[in-house]
């Protein structure tokens, strides 16, 4: 059998010898033998038997081909343009009601289970909250190897101990950790290839996203906008784990853009980078997004636009040099991180082809930009929005009544969660021209106050009053948006804010899940609900579809999470991550 806990002591020594930037502490024998909790000790079961279908490692051509091969799901966004659109034609509105549960798998951890699984060579890789990593037979669910990351006791995470998935390149599977490390595992054995510290997590940093592979580089962003960090994202050599470049998202003294921060406020400016970006192979351009400036809800000490917070940045992926940027929410005081998923879509507008970048921003507007130069094209509200209107140049015209105050009375939309949020994904059906955006419909009071910066302590400057949640006026939507016009074609409304990701299929179906514990599927063209299956736990994961052993599967994770009370979700549902894999008969 594949489980070899007794090899851990040997492996630990190996890690110490080859690690770059330090290694996790070794576990005791007791920890290895027991079923420990999420943070009580590192455990690692490697595999020494032949598994998979004998494929070679993942190469650049496979990544660029996206989801053309339905036996693979290699990238967080499905393809580099983030469509999450499976080519499987058999997943039709007529067939999906026949889905049957094939297998399921527990993570053994609580809090949000936000994974988007990776599938390659007949093997599925899923990561859980607290950074457990599992390699499973994609057809049967048999567990091949497992790694439980040892978390320090003093983690600093604002919003739950989440991980959204791994990346795969060559024979390496890469996972970023809450204590701000990037670890590479051999995809078949599970042995650690390298383990690199991104930065000292004790300063308020954490890594929660799936890395993005471009060429020989693994690109990973960082969370910590609530701790007054200086945001950045990095590129690491996939072969060695050595850092190739770092791109800061807040300028240093003397650098262009620092004039957009009053005084020395840039020193605690935030602008985290906690979601995966996108990549355009045609122009060899990387797109990465940034989150809120710090402190979140009090901008008094950081007058100015606060570059490059709440923006999308286009870069040369080889060097990390910026080509252009567009800032969605200058001088944000609502926590409208600009890092929701971006789609790269070529479209016809006014008789000419536009190479567009499209995003349902957390601030409530659906943006279309020209991705060749960052030029603003349009912004259309897709949820209740009253904090600002958008001028012709894309700059918000802020409603002064929507600014946080010490005694707020104006109901401001959207809420600090969005709109859409970078914690979950949308999808895009290129045949229909529709983007599927799960979102929160909720407004609130934004309150600000006096804030002191204390390293390692949240640096927020205020808070929010959930008047819509209390009045049971908040709800969830799945909006099907015409990407050329920004108009909503159809809309599903759920009694509770939707905070799960989406999957689109060539057969014309959209999948998502609810916080009340259901997996849902809709006719992609009409919005008619075609399937509803109770999973039990609230759904916060990113569903995928794939083929294995000649069969068609849909995988979706369930499990509760932090901030349930903030969203009106039912707190009666128990914790515990569980992956469910359904099969077409």
């Amino acid at each position: 059998m594949a489980f070899r806990p007794s090899t851990y002591a040997f492996l630990s020594l190996f890690i110490v010898a080859c690690a770059d930037g330090g290694a996790p502490s070794p576990a005791s024998e007791e920890e290895v033998e027991g079923e420990a909790g999420p943070s009580s000790g590192q455990m690692h079961w490697t595999n020494d038997r032949p598994i998979g279908l004998g494929m070679s490692g993942v190469d650049a051509a496979m990544l660029e081909s996206g989801l053309e091969d339905p036996t693979r799901w290699l990238l967080y966004g499905g393809n580099y343009a983030n469509y999450r659109h499976s080519p499987i034609q058999r997943l039709t509105p007529e067939a999906v009601p026949n889905l049957k549960l094939a297998w399921s798998f527990p993570t053994g951890t609580d809090r949000q289970f936000e994974v988007s699984p990776v599938v390659y060579d007949g093997i599925m890789y899923i990561s859980s909250s607290y950074n457990r990593l599992f390699a499973l037979d994609a057809a049967t669910g048999e567990l091949f190897w497992r790694y439980d990351h040892q978390q320090p006791d003093d983690l600093l995470v604002c919003c739950g101990p989440v991980n959204r998935g791994v990346a795969i390149a060559g024979d390496a599977v890469l996972m970023a950790t809450l204590d701000a490390r990037l670890i590479a595992f051999h995809r078949l054995s599970g042995e650690i290839l390298w383990d690199t510290a991104i930065i000292d997590y004790r300063e308020g940093y954490a890594a929660t996203a799936a890395p993005l592979i471009v060429g020989d580089l693994a690109i990973i962003g960082i969370a910590g906008g609530e701790f007054g960090i200086r945001g950045f994202f990095d590129a690491y050599d996939v072969a060695t784990g050595e850092r190739v470049w770092r791109h800061y998202t807040v300028p240093a003294a003397g650098e262009p853009g620092v004039e957009t921060w009053a005084g020395e406020s840039y020193l605690t400016g935030g602008a985290p980078t906690w979601n995966a970006g996108a990549y355009d192979p045609e122009t060899h351009t990387l797109f990465w997004t940034t989150g809120n400036p710090a402190p979140d809800w009090n901008g008094d000490e950081r007058e100015g636009d606060n570059l490059y917070a709440d923006a999308v940045i286009a870069l040369d992926p080889d060097t990390g040099e910026r080509k252009w940027f567009f800032q969605f929410t200058p001088h944000d005081v609502w926590d409208y991180d600009g890092n929701t998923q971006v789609f790269l879509i070529d479209m016809m507008r006014n008789g000419r082809e536009v190479k567009a970048l499209v995003q349902a921003n957390r601030n409530g507007y659906f943006y279309i930009l020209d991705r060749t130069d960052g030029r603003f094209i349009s912004a259309t509200a897709y949820v209740q929005t009253n904090w600002a209107t958008i001028a012709e140049d894309g700059r918000p015209i802020v409603n002064p009544e929507a600014l946080p105050s010490e005694d707020p009375s104006v109901r401001v939309c959207p809420s600090h969660l969005g709109g859409m949020n970078g914690a979950w994904t949308g999808a895009y059906n290129p045949g229909l021209g529709l983007a599927y955006i799960p979102a929160v419909e909720s407004c609130e009071l934004y309150r600000k106050g006096i804030v002191a910066f204390i390293p390692g302590q949240m640096f927020l400057g205020g808070g929010y009053e959930l008047i819509d949640v209390e009045a049971e006026r908040s709800f969830g939507v799945l909006a099907a948006i015409d990407v050329r016009t920004g108009e909503t074609r159809w809309r599903y409304e759920d009694p509770i804010p939707l905070m799960a990701g989406t999957l689109s299929t060539e057969g014309g179906v959209v999948f998502t899940g609810t916080q009340s514990g259901f997996a849902l599927a809709f006719n992609a063209e009409t919005g008619e609900e075609v399937w509803r299956h109770r999973l039990g736990g609230g759904v916060r994961s990113q569903p995928i579809a794939y083929e294995a052993d000649g069969r068609v599967f849909v995988a979706i994770g369930a499990g509760n999470g932090t901030f349930l009370e903030s969203t009106g979700a039912p707190d009666i549902l128990p914790e515990g991550g569980q992956l469910f894999v359904f099969e077409l008969p």
Partner: protein, 105 residues
């Protein structure tokens, strides 16, 4: 810290009758302690509600002062002593604000 050992009325008691002090305490609490931590009328997982009259580490003004000033080891509650803009004054005003806002005690 010397204040902690003093007998007699603590500053928070006096601030309960001082609207400006209560406003200051409320503002510092909102800006520094609420949000994703203690919240403004929000219940966040793992974080004590400070308005329900239940005090895990002691409910006297001096107990609360100690909790805020020295933190709670092993938790996310760090020591705020000497780190707020107006030092101890801000801590006492926060305590007065919390006591004034709590209901049903």
């Amino acid at each position: 810290m010397t204040l902690v050992g003093c007998a007699g009325p603590d500053p928070a008691s006096a601030y309960l009758e001082d609207p400006e002090a209560l406003a200051r305490g409320g503002s510092v609490f909102t800006g520094t302690c609420s949000g994703y931590c203690h919240g403004v009328n929000v219940t966040i997982a793992d974080v004590p509600n400070l308005f329900d009259c239940t005090w895990i580490h002691g409910g006297s003004n001096r107990d609360i002062y100690n909790t805020i000033a020295n933190g709670v080891p092993g938790s996310r509650m760090v020591a705020f002593g000497g780190r707020l803009p107006d030092g101890d004054e801000d801590i006492w005003k926060i305590i007065a604000f919390l006591k004034s806002e709590a209901s049903g005690c």
